[in-house]
Subunit: 146 residues, 12 copies
Amino acid sequence: MNFLVLHGPNLNLLGKREPQIYGSVTLAEINQELENLALELGGCTLSFFQSNTEGELINAIQEASTACDGILINPAAYTHTSIAIRDALSSVRLPCVEVHLSNVHRREEFRHTSLTAPVALGQICGFGCDSYLLGLRALFNHVKNA
Amino acid sequence: MNFLVLHGPNLNLLGKREPQIYGSVTLAEINQELENLALELGGCTLSFFQSNTEGELINAIQEASTACDGILINPAAYTHTSIAIRDALSSVRLPCVEVHLSNVHRREEFRHTSLTAPVALGQICGFGCDSYLLGLRALFNHVKNA
Amino acid sequence: MNFLVLHGPNLNLLGKREPQIYGSVTLAEINQELENLALELGGCTLSFFQSNTEGELINAIQEASTACDGILINPAAYTHTSIAIRDALSSVRLPCVEVHLSNVHRREEFRHTSLTAPVALGQICGFGCDSYLLGLRALFNHVKNA
Amino acid sequence: MNFLVLHGPNLNLLGKREPQIYGSVTLAEINQELENLALELGGCTLSFFQSNTEGELINAIQEASTACDGILINPAAYTHTSIAIRDALSSVRLPCVEVHLSNVHRREEFRHTSLTAPVALGQICGFGCDSYLLGLRALFNHVKNA
Amino acid sequence: MNFLVLHGPNLNLLGKREPQIYGSVTLAEINQELENLALELGGCTLSFFQSNTEGELINAIQEASTACDGILINPAAYTHTSIAIRDALSSVRLPCVEVHLSNVHRREEFRHTSLTAPVALGQICGFGCDSYLLGLRALFNHVKNA
Amino acid sequence: MNFLVLHGPNLNLLGKREPQIYGSVTLAEINQELENLALELGGCTLSFFQSNTEGELINAIQEASTACDGILINPAAYTHTSIAIRDALSSVRLPCVEVHLSNVHRREEFRHTSLTAPVALGQICGFGCDSYLLGLRALFNHVKNA
Amino acid sequence: MNFLVLHGPNLNLLGKREPQIYGSVTLAEINQELENLALELGGCTLSFFQSNTEGELINAIQEASTACDGILINPAAYTHTSIAIRDALSSVRLPCVEVHLSNVHRREEFRHTSLTAPVALGQICGFGCDSYLLGLRALFNHVKNA
Amino acid sequence: MNFLVLHGPNLNLLGKREPQIYGSVTLAEINQELENLALELGGCTLSFFQSNTEGELINAIQEASTACDGILINPAAYTHTSIAIRDALSSVRLPCVEVHLSNVHRREEFRHTSLTAPVALGQICGFGCDSYLLGLRALFNHVKNA
Amino acid sequence: MNFLVLHGPNLNLLGKREPQIYGSVTLAEINQELENLALELGGCTLSFFQSNTEGELINAIQEASTACDGILINPAAYTHTSIAIRDALSSVRLPCVEVHLSNVHRREEFRHTSLTAPVALGQICGFGCDSYLLGLRALFNHVKNA
Amino acid sequence: MNFLVLHGPNLNLLGKREPQIYGSVTLAEINQELENLALELGGCTLSFFQSNTEGELINAIQEASTACDGILINPAAYTHTSIAIRDALSSVRLPCVEVHLSNVHRREEFRHTSLTAPVALGQICGFGCDSYLLGLRALFNHVKNA
Amino acid sequence: MNFLVLHGPNLNLLGKREPQIYGSVTLAEINQELENLALELGGCTLSFFQSNTEGELINAIQEASTACDGILINPAAYTHTSIAIRDALSSVRLPCVEVHLSNVHRREEFRHTSLTAPVALGQICGFGCDSYLLGLRALFNHVKNA
Amino acid sequence: MNFLVLHGPNLNLLGKREPQIYGSVTLAEINQELENLALELGGCTLSFFQSNTEGELINAIQEASTACDGILINPAAYTHTSIAIRDALSSVRLPCVEVHLSNVHRREEFRHTSLTAPVALGQICGFGCDSYLLGLRALFNHVKNA
């Protein structure tokens, strides 16, 4: 099993900025923790991509359609504004899990709606780095049982 | 660590009704899978409660405040209508994880809003029985690291 | 054919309170008239339940699923607020007819929307006690022809 | 007792089109079933009118005010858009029952609101041809007891 | 000067129905009072038309474009629903005055908005038959000074 | 008969500013035309007041309650924002006619709603100075016939 | 005079939870203070009931209709969601005063609307325990002067 | 192939009124251009109908169901208000193309929503007479390839 | 303790106008009752001010900031429209109690929202003159315990 | 005549993904069909560009302003979210035709609004590949006649 | 050049109240800083006016029309509620700059909308006293270049 | 002090397109004027960046966080749609000033809301090129005084 881990805009700043909202872990550390879990789960490899540009995220999703068995995505701010990423996820029809570090339901009104969640298997939010790890487990279990 | 697992209205019908939405697993099987995972995680015991009555769920939440270290809750339909359960969760101030079997973002408009999620640590939805298991992990990790 | 007749909150006060809105017939009289009609229609027996508690109504609906062939329900105030009763009705998948004594479309704005009607066969409102009798006929005909 | 049975736009197509929504009975058959029921109820005669034109329906309602004792109306699409038909019904002040073949609450959002129901005695929807028959009973009982 | 006086749906019932809202004057009396005023003002003749059908009102408006110098219209219920009448008025580009017998601002919410007023010179409402007479004066003065 | 003619904020600028919206007549000229019409109608005297201050307009309305038989008011911008003027008009219970120079339905959305119209006899808008003259006629006729 | 003092969901936790919002007084202390004031006012006895279940609060209201002269109620979270409690209060037609410990207007948007206040005499909020005491005075004065 | 070309309200005025919005071509010229194109495409005949009355347009649609292979319709103002025309189009289940002379998206807010477009194959707007010609091509191609 | 009692627009008419809404007590009588209660409570003096002008009420609030220990205010119609009074109350940071004679929740929709309540200690409405007396008690108790 | 054909996000997947919505034709085939039509129309050449990145589409639009005589654009998901593409189209002031493969009016609510259509000549949707061909004809005719 | 500097309600309290929102500078100091800047810019004189009364601000604006070349205004709370001030500014047609001390976009929802900004040259907010100084520069430059 | 001047989408077209909205100054001229002002203010250097791509603007903001002391940004169309740029500005926590050439409050409804303004110091709009110059002054003063 190959999974693409996709990080949306501003997530490259993780750990350096606004730790009171997003925690103090860096993106590299999250990726490392995901690698460790993949090893523990066995039989799955991960590739990682971060971009601040909507179109590059769409390109990555499209390319994943032939190379990957599933997508773990934190669309960050694009969760709430990008119909184009939604359409990309919907087009490639790979199983996809949406994760968020923070509990979006506690934040501004405009973060309560997700354009991408309806085309994902499900959504996990609020557990910091653990959202990613739980998301990988969810994706792994889904693909194993499919 | 003691955790209360709380099931909201109609979840006693699980596995018997509408498997195309909620899957074919019964509530007893979910509870058993949670027990298994608790054993695997080690050092945590679970108690279970299901009710179709909003007030009984509130009572259970209040009683948990002295006996438990956290709550794993699927408020089901009350997610979207019960300010009283929200207030109960907010009052006891135990760490709480909200889970849903189905991907609520794919369903009717009125299921997209959660009154309880803003007072929970986070929310997990869309993975069937796995939503509960991931929720227990999230709760366990949070309490262990608190 | 066995039908459950379900009366929602405050309907136990019928005939004693606010006759200008709900008429002067009591709940016992309505039940008696329904019994009379059941006799006239032939081959159908009725059981009755009234509760002011949402959860007890849900329990009654769930129990009906094995014992009854259809539900005649006046959800009263819960018509407009209870996703949980809607989910219960939707789960048991029995034919169900929703009735209201008053013409809800003439009253406050918040009584114009029904959460339960979309999961019922149909809705009858505005004819006082006759709403129940017409509802029993509708249910009887539907089950007979199903 | 003389009752006018009024059928709104597109109901002349009944039984020929979209049977999955409106059933397979034709308008002529509905009228025949209403005649049969009128006979059974005794002492009431029916006249029928169908039009696709809002103004012709208004004319018919106005003319009924001297010739009829009540109106059984399925305003179809005009239910949701015609203040003029509402005003006509309100002006003639005859008892009026509104019926719909389909369960309007299950269909598009714009079919959930009725402009005419607030000036009718009540509304019956969702029982196919039986909606008309129940409506005639409701009207008959009302006029008999008035 | 020739003016068309246009009466919308249900206004043929005037004086016979709901006098508490519309007053006890009949449409014939209103037309007579308008004739009297036309005489008093001098140099203007009136033609009258009433219809319950939106399309017939539109036809009348279109025909007025060559025969008349202005339109005095009470669109009644169509005020709030007919974009087609608005488009007709806007197309013929005759000076037009909109009148209402009742004070629409005191009645149901849906009567507070006028689709036709923005394409009229102005609007007069609330003065019963006097609304028409004032409207004729307004139209007469406008055309005289144009 | 004594009538108070009340002019709201910025109407003292009439004729000097924005003639494309409000016409070129000055407030003094409007008052003069009203005086002329009062003479013509016979038996009625007018007093005039203009203020840019909401509270002064309220004071004037209150004082009119003992000295006047009716109020002709152009509340201008306060039409859309002043519940206090509405309450004053409603308190004194004098017959009141609301007028506007421009056709408010053609202008910004926030000018389409009137807080004061529901407590007036009626409203006249769009005829420039003629709105006032028609308003005086409406008020005169109403008081004469009351 | 007998008054029922009704406490809604989660108020049993008073003084133990979230004192920054609800103050540090317990429910027992509030009841005691109310008893003291009843003594001071003279001629009135109080009975108390708290429940987290909507239906039990409705039952209590219905039972009060024969035993009590008035109701002092803090519906807590149900203030904003329970049409059923509103209907119960409306049915029994006892004078009723609604109180809130906190100033609901300062809190979440969904706490600004009260479904029960329109069927109460009035509402008092924001004074902590004093809201109850002032509410008892209001109820006492009203019944005394009725 | 036989196609019905249906023109909605006020389109009979085309070319004579408001050319700045609708262009200077008359309806007869549009019909002629459509005839020319039908000839060019080959194998298709056209019939034409224009009405200002909603019900007559519905009648024409219903009659087309046996005589025609497709409908080219410009519902004009009824596009935004007529659920009845939508139901007619939906009932006859002929392929249907909706066209508009003007770019409705540039005009008033209430012209941005189409009730009929969801039951048509597609919609073409903004190209004046060319909207009709493109619409005929679209319909022709669709029927040819069906 | 010195308290300013502030009466908003139209309250000078109290007792003379619309007694069915506001009761028959005059403003002078309310002030007298407040004086009596102040005497009874002991140690507090009252000053009174009424104005129909928003700006004068703001001036009074600002002046109170050095001379008074609290404000008892009935902003009347300005409750729902005056951000400026809200800002004044918020600026002077004196404890403030908002009162209303009528139960605003039973009246027009636009009276359900208070701009000033969020910057007050709390709000009391619906008890006629008693609202003021209860408000003075609330203010007195708060300042005494501060 | 040179026209730029612009394809928005995810259109590079055409024919490979979700054929039930977008048809089975590939983007290359659409471009080829457009080339064929250009040849048939005569005197016009086409250039093509597809991008998933909003900014690249904007760059292409800007560059077209000197090199092209018109733009044929399918903004896909950006239709509903990109004010920036709208501003680009509006800035270059080239004639522009917006096309969509699917009938957007039948799909999710958020696809019913177009930010770009108001700055285009017109819009064509619902005819699959034929939408592009009709769009090219519309653009060609417009430029030829300009 | 003569400019009127207009300060709205509660700004006379500046520096004394809520410095965390509005800064610690007093109104006198702001006026002094403006005087200093006017001197530095050269050739412009300033007059100052502050009022808590909407009508007095309107009077000042009207009087400025003959005496001044521009207006620098901080309408404070009236920014969001006063159509009358908007109309005054629009009537006098002097260049006008709107300034705010605080960043209104960060505060309550009702402060995000400005009724006056659409009739001003532009708006400056969020820079404390510097908002005024920048506003004077903007006005000065505009008038110099006009 | 180093400041980054960031220009959003389509601003590279400045001076060439739609001068009636944005003025005739080019982006190069604006940058030159800013350089001149930086020189005049002393002690501050500027770097410039323009992009039509949201992600490139985010990258530039992120890079500024170590190299710059503040950001002067005109997000243009992204002002109203980009949560991602807002998050970037919020993450780097540099003082930031938002400017707009046009008075956004006078334009389309969707330009009245700014997603970025709440995370900026303040906003300046409506003064053409002068908006930038005033913005630089605001930023310079803020950083100098910080």
